[in-house]
């Protein structure tokens, strides 16, 4: 469903990744590993942009969440499905949310551990709660593919594992960047290591040794 062959990925004029050979097949759960600044976000963003053209049913958890701080948690989660309704229906929900939408969103909030937060403004939340809101928005959106850039970085370890498991069951195909190697091994069918602007390994999880991963993070 997604294929890069020998491409250079740039951010503006600046080439971040070069010689990228990368593909994503339906049903795969791929995790990108690497130090910060290695180019994971660039690959994720490029993947999202390309996939969105052919697979409009794609969900995204961006690095900085991309939430609207002034709006409530309900509205931010509801935004995941802005494309499911016409503008008039959306505007009505902005001013005075329909009970049916409130219920749907409430059940999603429960799965991410934010039950009862729907009327709170996002700007009043903690960092972890904001991240859960962004996750809830992606879950509410649903669809076949999820792309997430460190989607659980601000959540404590135990909850992070549960949330990543939740994402794995909800989305058929998943492409994530994670810094927690244990979590990555737990969820991924394939691991991709990126170092200094190059993909250094792209293997099924079981075939990646701890040494490979150690090399990825050494100075």
């Amino acid at each position: 469903m997604l294929q890069f062959s020998g491409e250079a990925l740039a951010y503006g004029d600046h080439t971040v990744l070069s010689g990228v050979d990368f593909n994503l097949r339906p049903g795969e759960r791929v995790v990108l590993l690497g130090r910060s600044g290695a180019g994971k976000s660039t690959l994720l963003n490029a993947s999202y942009r390309r996939l969105a053209e052919t697979h409009p049913d794609i969900a995204l958890v961006p690095q900085e969440h991309g939430l609207v701080p002034q709006l409530s948690v309900f509205h931010n989660v509801y935004m995941g499905r802005l494309d499911a309704h016409g503008a008039l229906y959306n505007l009505a929900n902005l001013v005075w949310p329909f009970p049916a939408q409130r219920r749907t969103v409430a059940s999603v909030l429960e799965t991410v551990g934010l039950a009862g937060f729907d009327r709170k403004a996002v700007e009043s939340l903690s960092g972890g709660q904001k991240q859960r809101t962004a996750l809830a928005r992606a879950i509410h959106r649903g669809g076949r593919v999820l792309i997430g850039d460190e989607p659980v970085s601000a959540v404590d370890e135990r909850h992070a594992a549960a949330l990543v498991d939740e994402l794995a069951t909800r989305f058929e195909t998943v492409l994530l960047a994670l810094h927690d190697v244990g979590l990555a091994r737990r969820v991924a069918t394939r691991l991709v290591g990126i170092r200094a602007g190059r993909i250094v390994f792209d293997l099924p999880s079981a075939e990646v040794s701890d040494g490979d991963i150690h090399d990825l993070y050494r100075a």
């Binding site: 004029d13 961006p62 609207v68 709006l71 509205h75 935004m79 494309d83 959306n90 505007l91």
Partner: protein
């Protein structure tokens, strides 16, 4: 990120001091061409009578004045509401060149010019007053709102579903991020709207300006003082009575009040006649378009208009504007330290505050009107009024900035004049220059408008054309005015870039009272 630096503009490098000096030299060179005659009568005796009246305000006509004050507020609220709604709708479309040009055009014409044009179509009516405020304000709101939207965080919109519609994304992921800025700006614009609304009284609408004009003409200076006091109280207390939850109530009450006003009937079809006949150049209207003779006459007509009216009008406008700009600069440089306690002391700063508040909240047109009563019709009252008003605005903004500067100074910083000369002025000078250049365009527009008072700037010729019911000529003269302001705006922007002060003043700094509103 590697980025190729944009090519720098190569203008003659005057530097910051040189730029200011060039403006001063230009103003001095223009002095011989400026008409500064003080008319025959004794201005000081007149001034003494005025002073006496101002010191003993006469509120005996309080019923009329209260009604005029209420109407001033009602026109301002309705005009600003309509202008803001239109600007709000246009803001997301502002990046399209036709919309942008349209907005530039409508906002480059002053409210008073709109009013005298609209008088030809909608007569002396509520519609005229509201539209005269709403039309130019719509252009201003569209620009400012679109800039606020551009500055807002783009990431939420980027995280929206790929096929979500434009309107939904705008309202969910862009608008809420700029809503607070919108509110602050709206409140500031309402203050401007009160000024505009009061001034509309000078062309006959029943607001405070009308009462001021009437009392002045009868020499009832006590009553003039009463009008001014009511006006200042309105402006000064606006942020107390203008509460957001009450806004719908105010709007409805204003509309209700306006609905009770009777307006003189207009002949039917005034709009059609205006568009299809009044504004068509006379030679074309009266001649056969297929006849080459008609076009020759049109050429003569245009030549006459441009060289006998537009050119002298434009020259006078620019002379007034350049002189007023320099006066405003000096007023600002002398005025802003008056707001800083460590320079002039607590008592001095209180006085400075009052003086500058009066200077900046009195509309420039009203100031010019008052100065005109004293000095008679020449360029002098216009230069004084525009210089004082704009200088006070710049001083107010600089005073606010220097308060921040002073907070961060070393503990053993000097006080008084030395503090001003060694610490404040060098730090604030860039902003000072930037603000002056920002006001330049505004001063040009205002110089044109004071022509309505009889000073020979462009407004004078526009007014004469309209009184002679030669709307076609008025339109051409207004187009010249529009081009002049747009040109000055472009020159000012290039100049600010060339001397590297473009980033020194953010739009927020140009909104007087914005920070106060935020704290409230």
């Amino acid at each position: 990120m590697t980025s190729i630096a944009p090519e720098r503009l190569r203008l003659p490098r005057f530097g910051r001091l040189g730029t200011a000096a060039a403006f001063v030299v230009l103003a001095v060179a223009l002095l011989p061409a400026a008409d500064f005659r003080i008319s025959g009568h004794d201005p000081w005796a007149e001034l003494a009578r005025m002073g006496q009246g101002l010191l003993s305000p006469d509120f005996s006509a309080i019923g009329t004045l209260a009604r005029a004050a209420a109407l001033t507020v009602a026109f301002a609220i309705c005009g600003v509401a309509l202008g803001a709604s239109t600007g709000f709708a246009l803001a997301p479309l502002y990046r399209f060149a036709p919309v942008r040009l349209f907005c530039v055009a409508i906002r480059s014409i002053h409210e008073l010019f709109w009013a005298i044009l609209l008088l030809q179509i909608t007569g002396l009516s509520v519609t005229t007053g509201i539209l005269a405020i709403a039309i130019p304000y719509a252009g201003i709101f569209a620009k400012v709102f679109s800039e606020y939207l551009d500055e807002a965080d783009p990431r939420p919109a980027a995280a929206m579903p790929p096929r979500a519609d434009f309107i939904s994304v705008h309202f969910f992921a862009r608008l809420p991020l700029a809503a607070r800025e919108f509110q602050v700006y709206l409140l500031y614009r309402l203050e401007c709207g009160l000024r505009s609304s009061a001034v509309l009284g000078f062309v006959g609408l029943p607001t405070l300006g009308f009462e001021l004009d009437t009392f002045f003409k009868q020499g009832m200076y006590g009553a003039v003082a009463a009008v001014l006091i009511i006006y200042y109280v309105l402006i000064a207390t606006m942020r107390l009575w203008m509460r957001w939850p009450l806004a719908p109530f105010y709007l409805l009450a204003s509309i209700g009040f306006m609905a009770t006003l009777a307006s003189p009937p207009m002949a039917p079809g005034a709009l059609i006649r205006f568009v299809t006949s009044d504004i068509v150049p006379a030679p074309l209207r009266n001649g056969d378009l297929g006849d080459p003779e008609t076009w020759v006459r049109f050429g003569d007509w245009l030549h006459m208009l441009l060289f006998q009216q537009a050119l002298p009008g434009l020259t006078a406008t620019m002379i007034v504007a350049q002189l007023a700009l320099v006066v405003a600069g000096f007023v600002a440089l002398i005025g802003f330290p008056l707001l800083v306690v460590p320079v002039v002391g607590r008592f001095g700063s209180a006085l400075g505050h009052i003086g500058l508040v009066v200077g900046r909240s009195t509309p420039e047109y009203m100031l010019a009107y008052i100065a005109l009563q004293i000095f008679g019709p020449s360029m002098l009252p216009a230069v004084i009024a525009l210089g004082l008003h704009n200088g006070a605005i710049i001083a107010h903004l600089l005073g606010r900035q220097s308060a921040h500067v002073h907070e961060n100074l070393r503990p053993d910083a000097p006080r008084g004049l030395v503090l001003y000369a060694y610490e404040l002025l060098p730090r604030i000078y860039g902003s000072f220059l930037a603000l002056c250049l920002y006001r330049w365009e505004i001063i040009v527009r205002e110089s044109a408008i004071v022509g309505l008072l009889g000073i020979a700037t462009l407004g004078f010729y526009v007014d004469r054309a309209i009184q002679e019911i030669r709307i076609d000529r008025a339109i051409v003269l207004l187009l010249v005015t529009m081009l002049a302001t747009v040109a000055i705006d472009a020159i000012s922007r290039r100049l600010r870039k060339a001397i590297g002060i473009d980033g020194l003043v953010s739009r927020r700094d140009q909104v007087p009272g914005a920070t106060e509103a935020r704290l409230a």
